[in-house]
Symmetry: C2
Subunit: 83 residues, 2 copies
DNA sequence: GGCAATTATGGTTTTTCGGGCATAAACATA
DNA sequence: TATGTTTATGCCCGAAAAACCATAATTGCC
């Protein structure tokens, strides 16, 4: 099930969870994605200045997809959406 | 149904389609989102340097949601996914 | 507690975005 | 074709990201 990321902080949390699910450290993900560990740290914390290119680099390394949908009418979060 | 945006260009196309669906010009969307028309043009064309903040500004104005999912095993595009 | 690994943060430099303004190119349509 | 609208592109410049390096803070484990 796809997760909504309505803020950079939520996006960061989702990335962090995906990374941990794969058993990767930030440094390992950095090597895989071509970014730097510090950069990944800042993204995971929730940095709204992150560039699309950086996001896509992480998504490719983590086997994630970015989806676009019309805004859900019911914004009530599922159990899994609380970070 | 959510659309996959695997590249900045695909993301741009989705934004453009959402904008047109709402009957907005780039200039009108610029006013709604706080960005500039030139900026939106570059994003729609597919600009990988776009910042998350800009993306979220557009998404809010267009009533779109950003979703994250584990990469689909079957990448065959639906009819609607061909731009 | 103590140690190693991991993550977060600070400073500096380089690179690039995005605002701002102008204008060309594309598009519609009378 | 001509005119008006919409979109794309070029340049300059200030602001900010990201590389880079160092190191502090945190976490996990013995």
């Amino acid at each position: 099930m796809a997760q909504i990321a309505r803020t950079p902080a939520q996006m960061g949390s989702l990335i962090q969870r995906a990374r941990r699910r794969k058993g990767l450290t930030q440094t390992e993900l950095a090597h895989l994605s071509g970014l730097r560990q510090e950069h990944i740290s800042r993204i995971e914390v929730g940095h709204d200045g992150t560039k699309l290119a950086s996001l896509y680099a992480l998504f490719a390394a983590l086997d994630l997809d970015l989806l676009v949908d019309i805004r859900a009418r019911d914004p009530s979060p599922g159990i899994d959406d609380i970070f």
